[in-house]
Structure formats: structure tokens, C-alpha cells
């Protein structure tokens, strides 16, 4: 298709789109005053948005049909980036510099910024945890927020009833969540693909409903307040101090979890997960116990969510069931899918984009979910691997130089 044809087709699409969305975009009903507002300007707005999107969409489709795919390495920016980074010592300097920047951040910015970055870090932890199941294992878990919630509530409840502090709650929250993961995993892990997704969604919602109605322990829909911030060897911080401290704990946890995920994904166990994602029947025929593999995946991923939950409770000092709905799960899924399934760097990027962007582009906030929804579709259609595609490790074969 040439440009003119694409333009023509986009114009038709724009007109069809206007017709399709007419009642919802143009007519606004005020059912209390019994008034109708006709917003004719919407025609132009909707039409032009659809026209532009349609044009880009078709052009991209044509490109992919012609075999042109975007490779960062071969793009202009990518070539510059690599020629810069490949110079000796540069990577190391960049690493040192960013480490300093990350640690210094709470001391050079406002508590507000620090707090937002902490949120982003918590979501990165969640993304990394979900990524183990979705990215490596290829199992879609739509109830992940429930594991997050179990961690948060474990801390809140243990603190209310037994005065247990953050540091003890951190492993306990992970443990409780892992246990919960095992209980959920038992019946659901026999299921495949999309069924698994829906059942985990069901479990997630059930957990929320039970939390809302089990007031004696969870204080119902109103939630639990006055959860203490973390202390350092018994020392409590003021508002600024504790915001910084929670941020630094989050950084440490992210680093720890990245380390664990890296170790895991190139191990015997991690390989078997990826193989399961690629072809479960062949994987089983290679001697991998699928039930055991899935259970391990689920439990590890659940415990990471639990840890994130404890951190979340400590950060906000207040939790209620609304923080752990299915949309929370889907938000975490967006981080993984948009960033790059199976790729640690992708998940970090996804977390930063999805949490920071709406915070800083206030105008964007309102359209956040609309755009994320749309991006999910675009990503699946054009780049199912996510922004940063997962690469497999290249193994060196030792003692066999003749083949190099």
C-alpha cells in the first residue's frame, strides 16, 4: 500500500470510528436534570485521533509485512548508544554514577519525589515477581495483587495484635504469601493457559471479598491504619528520615530480587521454567515434573509479592482491600507485558514508565488506564515481546577452543 492508499483507508476508518463512538462520545445525558448535551466538537476530536492512529497502525502493519522490524541496535540512537557504551570503562563509570544517583536521590529531592520513586520500586518488585510466572513460566496469573495483599495484611495484623515490627514482618509476610500461593496453587496449577488466568483472577477476587467481610481480623472495607514505619536498630525516624529510609530499603530489596532472579533464570530450574513456557508437553517428556515446577514458580513469585506487600504497608502506614483488586493485578501485568516478558531490564523500565509517567504528566493521569489498555493491544499486535525483548544466555563451552 502506498501512502495515499493508507491515508484514504485511515479516512474511512476515522469516519467509521466516528459513527461507532457517536452515542458515547457526542451525547451526554444528565439523568438527574433530565438534560441532553450534544457535544458536536467530539466528532472532530475523535475523528482526528482515529485518523492518526489508523495511519500509524496500517503503516506499521505494512512495514512488518515487508519484514522491517525495529531493532534498537540498528537504529540511529542504538548505534550511537553502542558506540558510546562499548568504549572501555564506560559501562563501569555509568554503573558507578547511576548507583550514586540512586542512593543520593532521596537526599537531593523532595520527600514527595522520594515517595513516588518508592512506589515505583515497589511495583518493580511486584513486576519482577510476576515476571517469574508470566515471563519465564508462561503462566498468566491475574490474581497477583492478592499475594501482595496477603503480605501487607500479614504485617498489619501481626503488628496490631502482637506488635511485630517491620523487620520481622518482612520474612513473615513473604512466608505467609508463599503459603497462600501454595494453597492457591494446589487446585489451579493443573489448568492450562487461559483457564489458569481466569481461576487466579477468581482467587484474587475471592481473597478481596473475604478480606472485606472478615472484619474481626481485617477491619473490613475501612482497612487498617497506623502501621509503623521501619526502624533501624530500634531507632525511629521522623517523617523525612523514614521516607528516605523506606526508599533505601526498597532499593536494597529490588537489588536483592534482581540478583535472585538473575541467578534463577540461568539455572537448571529456571531453564526448565522457560522450557515449560515454550512447550509443556515436550518439557514433561524431557523429565521435568511440571506440577513441581509450577508450584515452585508460584511459591517464589508469591513470596516476592508478600515482601512487596509488607514494604507497601510500611510505606503507606494504611491499607485497605481496595489496594488489592483485580485492576491492581492487571496493572502489574501491564508492567511486565509492556516492559518485556521475561526480561529484568524490561520490567524495571515498565515499572518506571507506568508509575512515574502518570505522576509527572498530570494531564496524562486521567487517561492512564485508557492508554495502558490501548498499549497492551498495540504491544501484543506489534511487539509481543515487550519494549525490551528477552534474550537467552549464550554459554561458553570450556576446554573446547577448536570450535570457537
Amino acid at each position: 500500500m502506498n501512502r495515499l492508499e493508507i491515508l484514504k483507508k485511515s479516512l474511512i476508518n476515522a469516519i467509521l470510528g466516528i459513527l461507532l463512538t457517536f452515542p458515547i462520545t457526542v451525547i451526554k445525558v444528565n439523568t438527574i436534570e433530565k438534560e441532553i448535551t450534544w457535544r458536536w466538537y467530539m466528532l472532530a476530536l475523535v475523528g482526528s485521533v482515529i485518523f492518526v492512529i489508523s495511519y500509524l497502525w496500517i503503516r506499521q502493519q505494512e512495514r512488518q509485512k515487508a519484514g522491517i522490524t525495529f531493532k534498537f541496535k540498528e537504529s540511529k540512537l542504538g548505534i550511537k548508544y553502542h558506540s558510546l557504551m562499548d568504549k572501555p570503562g564506560v559501562t563501569k563509570r555509568v554503573l558507578i554514577f547511576s548507583t550514586i544517583l540512586i542512593i543520593a536521590l532521596p537526599f537531593i529531592t523532595s520527600p514527595y519525589t522520594t515517595s513516588i520513586f518508592t512506589t515505583a520500586l515497589i511495583y518493580i518488585i511486584l513486576g519482577l515477581g510476576l515476571n517469574i510466572v508470566v515471563g519465564l513460566g508462561g503462566l498468566l496469573n491475574l490474581g497477583y495483587a492478592a499475594f501482595f495483599g496477603v503480605g501487607a495484611y500479614t504485617f498489619a495484623i501481626l503488628n496490631q495484635n502482637f506488635g511485630i515490627g517491620f523487620w520481622l514482618a518482612l520474612p513473615l509476610g513473604g512466608l505467609a504469601s508463599a503459603l497462600f500461593g501454595a494453597i492457591v496453587g494446589l487446585p489451579v496449577l493443573r489448568l492450562k493457559g487461559d483457564y489458569l488466568a481466569i481461576v487466579t483472577l477468581g482467587f484474587g477476587e475471592m481473597t478481596r471479598i473475604v478480606t472485606e467481610n472478615f472484619g474481626a481480623l481485617t477491619n473490613g472495607p475501612s482497612g487498617i491504619a497506623n502501621i509503623p514505619k521501619p526502624t533501624l536498630f530500634g531507632h525511629t525516624f521522623g517523617y523525612f528520615g523514614s521516607t528516605r529510609f523506606v526508599y533505601l530499603i526498597a532499593v536494597a530489596l529490588v537489588v536483592l530480587i534482581i540478583f535472585i532472579v538473575w541467578r534463577m533464570e540461568n539455572s537448571r530450574i529456571g531453564r526448565s521454567w522457560v522450557a515449560m513456557r515454550e512447550d509443556d508437553i515436550a518439557c514433561e517428556a524431557m523429565g521435568v515434573d511440571l506440577t513441581k515446577a509450577k508450584m515452585t514458580l508460584f511459591i517464589i513469585s508469591a513470596s516476592i509479592a508478600g515482601i512487596a506487600g509488607v514494604l507497601f504497608a510500611a510505606k503507606t502506614t494504611f491499607i485497605n482491600p481496595q489496594s488489592f483488586t483485580v485492576w491492581e493485578s492487571i496493572m502489574i501485568l501491564c508492567i511486565v507485558v509492556l516492559g518485556g516478558k521475561g526480561s529484568v531490564r524490561g520490567v524495571i523500565l515498565g515499572g518506571l514508565i507506568l508509575i512515574l509517567l502518570p505522576e509527572y504528566l498530570r494531564a496524562f493521569q486521567q487517561y492512564r488506564m485508557l492508554i495502558f489498555g490501548f498499549l497492551l493491544i498495540v504491544m501484543m499486535v506489534f511487539r509481543p515481546g515487550g519494549i525490551i525483548q528477552n534474550v537467552r544466555k549464550i554459554y561458553k563451552i570450556e576446554g573446547d577452543l577448536s570450535n570457537e
Partner: protein
Amino acid sequence: MDVGYFFKLLLSGLTRGSIYALIALGYTMVYGIIKLINFAHGELYMIGAFTGLIVASVLNYAGVDPVLTLVIATIFAIIFSSAFGVTIEKIAYKPLRNTQRLSALISAIGVSMFLQNFVLLFQTSDFLSFPNLIPEFKFLAPVENYLSSPQILIYICTAIFLIGFTVLVKFTKIGKAMRATAQDSKMSLLLGININKVISVTFLTGSAAAAIGGVLISSQVGQINFYIGFIVGIKAFVAAVLGGIGSIGGAVLGAFVLGLVESFGTGYISSDYEDLFAFLFLILILTFKPSGLLGKSLKQKV
């Protein structure tokens, strides 16, 4: 035991069941043909309800006869819902037909998010009240404590739609093509069946059913917002799975079983846990009989 209360619950269970049946139909047909859980199907029901409300309000405020208004609003709801259904398929599912099934499911989640927020942004996040259009049927006066006019209307419309739908699937050419595609899509392609058309018709009828359900239930309940599709959609999916996904009779059966269980469950146990029953059902059925009540159990060919 209070017999009157029992009947009230029974009838309200049938009402729920009817609505679930209308929505579950779309799930089961789409799954039967392209093996996709159309996560966004509940949103088509919501779009149907909204279109219905908007059109009905415009006519109602202009003083058009209520019954005529209801009819016109329903027709518009069907048209727009179906158009959305077919469009979604073209944009978000068709390009993913030959990829991993998880990709299509994630795309469907994206559609669901998009449509909910689309309506939220362009309309409102508040509940809107649906005009009261259904006339009081005089003949119901003796039983008005148990059965309302909207309920009767829901039963009748559901029955008519189900019969019409059965005729479509059993006796028309496109219906036969649909069944053939559900059996074996590769083979149907070889036999010259136009798969794209079959899929479009599937989305069209599924969305139409959902739209009818949307308008009917909205005029009974009296208010709607952008979120109504999600939970009902999930429940209708549960109904489809319960009956055996891919089986049309199964979807209807599953819908009524779920509707009745919910109605009796909330009536006799606790209304706090209204949404719990569906999920419990889902987990139990998939754990113990994944093929559902009427579905055939199939072993994956290796």
C-alpha cells in the same frame, strides 16, 4: 419454611440466569470458534446498556411513548454493541489468530481496560439512572410481590432470543459453517468456509445477545455505570465454563444454575458473599470436571 420467600428467590434466580445466559452465549461461541476467552465481552454488555440508556433518555425526554422508546433503544444497543464487537475482533484479535493464546488473552484484557475507561472518560464514573420504560403488566397484579413486569419481560426476551439463536445455528448456512469451524477450523478452511465471515457473525450475535441483556437488566435495576460489565462478564464466563465451554446448551444451563445458586445463596446465607459463589463454582468445576456439565472431555492431540 417461607414458601413465598422461596419463590421470590427462585424467580430472581431465573432473572439472573437469563441475563447470564445472554452473555454466556457470546463467551461460549467465541471460545468455540477461536479458542479465546473474550475478556472484553462483559464490556460489550456495558456498551449495550449505555447506548440503550443514552438513546432511551434522548427519546424519553422528548416525550416519546415508553414502549416505543424501549424498542428503539434496544435496537440501537444491539447495533452499536455488535459494531463494537466486530471492530474489536478486527483490531485486537484478528492479528493474533496464529500466535500464542496468551497474547490474545492479554490483548483482550487491554480491550476491556480500554472500553471501561473510554466510557468512564466520555460519560461519567457516576451511576446514571435508566428511564423507567417497562409498563406495569396488569395480569401480574396477583403475584406482584414475587414477580415484576421487567422480570417477565426478561424471561420472554431471553426465550425468544435463545430460540432464534438455536434456529440460526442449527438450520441456516452460516450456522452450519459456525458449527463446522468450531469442530475443526483448519478443515473448514480447506472446505472453503469463509472463516472471517464466520468469526464476524459470531462476534456480532454474541454482542447482540449481550446488548439485549444489558438493556433489559438496566431497565430492571434502574441504574448503570461503566463498571457493570466486568463482574457480570466474569460470572457469565463462569456460567459458560460450568456448562462446558463451547457448548451452547451448556452455557444456558450453566447460566441458570449459577443464577439460582447466587439467588438462593444470597437469600439464605449472606448477601455479603454474593460474588463469592461464582468464583467458588469456577474453582470447583475446573478442578474436578474441567469439561463442564455438558462439554465433551477432549485429550489434547500430541
